[in-house]
């Protein structure tokens, strides 16, 4: 990885390195370390100290807390073992929050990736005019705070006086109570996520597309491939690492969906995720359990660990699908090679 990234980041050093005999290069980078052997450790230590305290310690401590009947006000009480976990598995609200979270995850990740792929394909044109305008315009939502986004979308989706309902009415349909329905509220919240991250993913895909040699597209064009074929047979397969990266990022991020559902329910007891918990998410539930009545730290620590496990499982699933696709691709390539050698033999 370091080789490719070096190649991408810089050129001056690389050129010099190539000309330089190997031995000398080693000595050069050996130099600084020789004289102050402690220096590199000093330089990297802040990260590790901070991570030890705020990363490792907190996760392990979360586990410890989750084994106790522990509240904000009462402090640590009895050790209850895995009680919090078994109660959690029987908790219908936790179940509902989990289903909601995955539902919104799908509703946001899938359309987002498809739109981003299409936009990236269109933007990947050297002759496109105003490309900077389009790129930066697409990135603007990504730098906006989720709180501001949620407030604006909450008003767009408002039952009365909301712009979206007004449009629906003008088109002659019945206005929708977006907040009330389960699917409709999920759609509204997913639209916030889609709006915020489509542009960012577009830029990720665009960067990866620009690394694909133009000659592939030219060869396909000469062979008579249509634009859509070029997109689906060249761009998408070659973008798979970038897609994987974006999907994993999105899955881990959206499992922690919090601000959008919280602000979507502004003024209506915002940690319940709607009257019927119809848009309660896991993290919102965790927050409500820990930092509002009943201040149950132990219980919400158990929720936190469940979320860690779910993130790991979801990431493993994505990587698994990727590996499966890899295998299929390799098999197809082997078959193609075999067929080619056979046809060459026949020709001979």
């Amino acid at each position: 990885m370091s080789e490719t990234s070096k190649a991408l980041v810089g050129s001056a050093t690389d050129d010099e390195r190539i000309q330089r005999p190997r031995k000398k290069r080693r000595q050069a980078s050996h130099g600084p370390a020789h004289e102050e052997p402690w220096a590199p450790y000093l330089f990297i230590s802040p990260f590790f100290i901070l991570f030890a305290i705020f990363g490792v310690f907190t996760l392990l401590y979360t586990f410890w807390v989750s084994l106790h009947d522990w509240s904000l006000l009462g402090g640590m009480n009895a050790f209850v073992g895995i009680d919090n976990y078994t109660r959690l598995l029987d908790d219908p609200r936790f179940f509902k929050a989990t289903v909601n979270t995955f539902s919104m995850l799908l509703l946001s990740t899938v359309p987002q990736m498809i739109m981003a792929l299409i936009l990236a394909e269109i933007l990947n044109d050297r002759l496109l005019r105003g490309s900077h305008l389009f790129r930066s315009g697409l990135l603007v939502p990504n730098i906006t705070s989720v709180v501001a986004i949620a407030i604006v979308f909450q008003s767009l989706f408002a039952r009365q006086n909301g712009l979206i309902n007004a449009v629906i009415q003008l088109l002659g349909f019945e206005p929708l109570n977006w907040h009330a329905g389960r699917l409709s509220s999920h759609l509204a919240i997913a639209s916030m996520v889609n709006w915020q991250f489509t542009g960012f993913n577009t830029l990720i895909f665009l960067a990866a597309l620009q690394a694909i040699p133009l000659s592939y597209y030219e060869a396909a064009q000469i062979d008579g491939a249509t634009r859509i074929q070029r997109f689906s047979k060249i761009s998408v397969p070659l973008l798979r690492p970038a897609i994987l990266f974006a999907v994993v990022l999105s899955v881990i991020g959206q499992l922690q969906l919090f601000a959008q559902p919280m602000l979507f329910g502004a003024g209506a007891g915002s940690t319940s995720g709607g009257n019927d918990n119809q848009y309660l998410t896991i993290l919102l539930y965790l927050y409500g359990q820990a930092f509002q009545q009943p201040f149950r730290f132990g219980y919400s620590a158990a929720i936190a660990w469940m979320l860690v496990l779910m993130s790991a499982a979801a990431a493993a699933l994505v990587f698994g699908v990727n590996a499966l696709l890899d295998r299929r691709e390799n098999r197809a390539e082997r078959q193609y090679r075999k067929a080619r050698t056979r046809s060459q033999e026949v020709a001979r």
């Binding site: 220096a39 990363g55 996760l59 002759l127 900077h132 604006v152 006086n161 602000l263």
Partner: protein
């Protein structure tokens, strides 16, 4: 292939386009074809751009009209004259100025610190040889996969022990250096600090700190600036942890918490809430307009580096 590469990105699209597509067709068909296709292209892009920008326009429309006007049907879709009134209401409704200041303090402190520590660590990982370098760097990358929000409860308990609940330090200290920052600066140092320069500085008798100051810092400035911009934005936009640890101390609220309070308390008065929201977005927009090139390049670089 060579003609393609010679065609520049901007400026001569009219002459260049026909060379790129469908070279085997007659010129007239080619021209019609590419015009129709580029029409579709620009329409889609224009639509995407409009969708991206529309919520900001809508923010201003709501914020500049009175609540009464906004509840008519069909709703007004053009700005009105009441923005200043609504903005004043919002500023009076929540401690807006304090919140802006707090956000600025937090985001600046985090940015300066992340840049400093990440550059040091990035330099060590990129240019120094030491035992365990590869393993430690892989470890740094691995920590990026650990969802940070999940240590919320123990972090809160910890801050209780430190006596930092309701104190800005509780938000600043855990973010003093990030895995992403270290990773980013490692790539930047590897790509922009020539070994020759390090060697020369060494031979001139420069200490390791002298090298960092006189060689590393000046070379990495552009790459570090991008990291700085994004770090500042993320700190400015951070919501959950500040809400948890500062939520009960109004004088320490950051702008995001103030916004949330505004929206939760005055949710019936959309115009006022939206005026406050718009005010909170303006500083970011200024930063973005000034540095949009670096930020777009940064997002695309980040993808490649990952």
């Amino acid at each position: 292939m060579t003609t393609l590469e010679k065609v520049s990105t901007r400026g001569d699209g009219s002459t260049g386009r026909s060379e790129l597509t469908l070279r085997d067709r007659p010129p007239l068909v080619r021209a019609v074809h590419s015009m129709r296709r580029s029409g579709v292209k620009y329409t889609i892009l224009g639509l995407a751009l409009a969708v991206s920008v529309f919520p900001f326009y809508w923010m201003y429309v709501v914020a500049s009209n009175s609540n009464a006007v906004m509840s008519q049907f069909p709703p007004r879709v053009i700005p009105g004259p009441n923005f200043l009134t609504n903005a004043r209401l919002a500023i009076e409704g929540v401690p807006f100025g304090t919140a802006l200041l707090n956000s600025f303090v937090v985001a600046s402190a985090i940015t300066v610190s992340v840049l400093f520590f990440s550059t040091m660590a990035g330099f060590a990982f990129a240019k120094m040889r030491f035992r365990g370098r590869g393993g430690l760097f892989t470890f740094v990358l691995g920590t990026m996969l650990v969802p940070q929000q999940l240590g919320l409860i123990p972090l809160f308990i910890l801050m209780g022990y430190f006596g930092w609940v309701g104190d800005l330090r509780a938000v600043i200290v855990p973010s003093l250096v990030t895995a992403f920052g270290v990773f980013w600066m490692r790539q930047v140092v590897a790509g922009s600090v020539p070994d020759e320069l390090l060697e020369a500085a060494r031979m001139d008798g420069c200490s390791i700190f002298g090298i960092v100051r006189h060689v590393v810092w000046p070379s990495v400035a552009p790459g570090a600036a991008v990291l700085g911009l994004y770090t500042f934005l993320f700190a400015w936009n951070d919501f959950l942890w500040p809400l948890v640890v500062l939520g009960n101390e109004p004088s320490s609220h950051t702008i995001q918490i103030a916004l949330r309070t505004l929206s939760d308390t005055y949710y019936v008065n959309y115009s006022m809430v939206m005026a406050g929201t718009l005010l909170s977005v303006v500083p970011l927009m200024i930063v973005f307009v000034l540095f949009s090139r670096q930020m777009v390049a940064g997002a695309m670089d980040g993808a490649l580096k990952g």
